[in-house]
Amino acid sequence: MSEKNPLPFAKTQSKAMLLWVLAVLIGLPLILPSATLATEILIFAMAALACNLLLGYTGLLSFGQGIFFGAGAYCAALLMIHLQLGLFTALLGAAIAGGFLALLVGALAIRRTGIYFVMLTLAFSQMAYFVAYTLSDWTGGDNGLLSVPRPEIRVGDTVLLSLADARAFYGFVAVLFLLIFIGARRVIASPFGSTLMAIRENETRASAIGYDTRHFKILVFVLSGAVTGIAGALYAMLLHFVPLSNIDLAMSENILIMTIVGGTGSLFGSLLGAGSIVLLGDFLSDLWPRWLMLLGVILILVVIFMRGGLWGGLASLFEKVRGSRKTASVAKEEGL
């Protein structure tokens, strides 16, 4: 997991990257046929970004992301259905549910490293699925949890904005995504974030220079779980429905695939990864019911030929173009 090079402009052009994100957020609903599709992309980009904090920045391959996604979805939906809670309290509840479960899973799983850690997260993921399946009075079991509301944004009793319209909901999700993106960048640039990268590079050394690496791993798990929980809650509001597949192992895989395809070295990569997988799924599933097979092929190609994922591929392409332009201009100056 730790063979990636920091990309040449991952750090220096961070302002520019924020502009790129803004451009994508504004451009998505304009280009895509439906605002719902655009919203789905952002929701999964959020989940992939949270996964990236673990995988890309700390070097932890977690199959537990589906647990937090599903838990966020169920928690928010149940809070809204049974307690009639509003939008923000439901989202907060989802974040807490995701974060709390991540605390449990993280604290137990990080007691082992490498392959055993991965297997533990896998086991937790299976368990969570069957818990949700068994508690069918609450989760609806196989049928899913139906008629999830999408509350409006309100302050006290005044309704500020109804989110019933797909474009309004997109706007809300986009603002949340931007806030989470900025927050995640801040986390990465903090003493905590820099230590995560040290743990990814060499955990023994990180421990030898004074860091209790367990605390760092647990905290990044909690942060990742909370964001994933929010993504799950938004997904429930988008669909008005929580299918059992939200907490399935396949959800964890999906989120991991998006993260890896997008590129683990950068947060923007997660947006790219989620965007391309959701769009491909949307496009290919119309053409061929066995489209997941093609997705497998694409994943194989990206992993083999594009180290650093789509983002890494784009970055090196950009460098090449800039490099060749530079040599061309040098050649001109030298009168060649």
């Binding site: 905590f192 990268m197 060499n202 004074g210």
Partner: protein, 220 residues
């Protein structure tokens, strides 16, 4: 002179095998000591007990008034202990400066969990990194990835990282291991330089004319 580090009947046993058996050491503050002994004598095992990588199975370790027996490795840094590794152990894909900055930040312990401040808001760690860069004569390579340094430079960085936490005791595990014959003087010079303001305990397979020695015999 005060005793900085003392061990009493220190033991590390793997089942019936004693890798470290009854080691008594006293290290005065402000000295350079070398632990010498052939391969397999248990030098590195002793080192592991002192740094916390392994838990000693019996005996006592006192360091600067603290009992270290049950302290984990990361907890010993805050008390003023720092170590380097025999096999170079750097953050390969991070810059040389970042390697040193992280090592300086390590002394913060749990305070480094702060995820809402910016790294550069802690100037002292960056300043420490720059000071050490200068001392190691690596300033020109500050922004190079640690993994791209020459082997000799990596060894120097390896040792340099251990002084970033302003330790009272510097423990160097075979600092010259694997170094070319031309690079070794640079390292011995660096160590005697560090010895002027640190207490140094190092492991070498062969005696070095500079310091005081404590020999360990290989066991059959």
């Amino acid at each position: 002179m005060s005793i900085l580090l003392e061990t009493k009947d220190l033991e590390l046993a793997y089942g019936a095998f004693h890798a470290v058996n009854g080691v008594n050491l006293k290290v005065e503050a402000g000295t350079i000591h070398t632990i010498i002994g052939p391969n397999g004598a248990g030098k590195t095992s002793l080192f592991h007990c002192l740094t916390g990588e392994r838990q000693a199975t019996a005996g006592a370790i006192h360091f600067d008034g603290n009992n270290l027996m049950r302290k984990p490795a990361h907890g010993r840094v805050g008390l003023g202990m720092a170590r380097s590794f025999q096999l170079t152990s750097l953050f390969q894909n991070l810059s040389v400066r970042e390697n040193l900055r992280l090592a300086a930040q390590g002394r913060d312990g749990a305070r480094a969990l702060n995820f809402w401040r910016r790294v550069d808001s802690k100037r002292e760690h960056l300043e420490m990194a720059d000071q050490v860069l200068e001392r190691l004569q690596l300033t020109a390579r500050a922004d190079t990835l640690a993994g791209e340094l020459s082997h000799g430079q990596q060894r120097v960085l390896e040792v340099g990282m251990s002084i970033c936490s302003k330790p009272k005791l510097l423990m160097l595990d075979e600092p010259t291991s694997g170094m070319g014959i031309d690079d070794i003087p640079i390292m011995t010079q660096l160590i005697s330089d560090l010895g002027r303001d640190h207490t140094v305990l190092l492991i070498e397979p062969r005696p070095d004319p500079g310091g005081r020695h404590a020999g360990i015999r290989a066991r059959r």
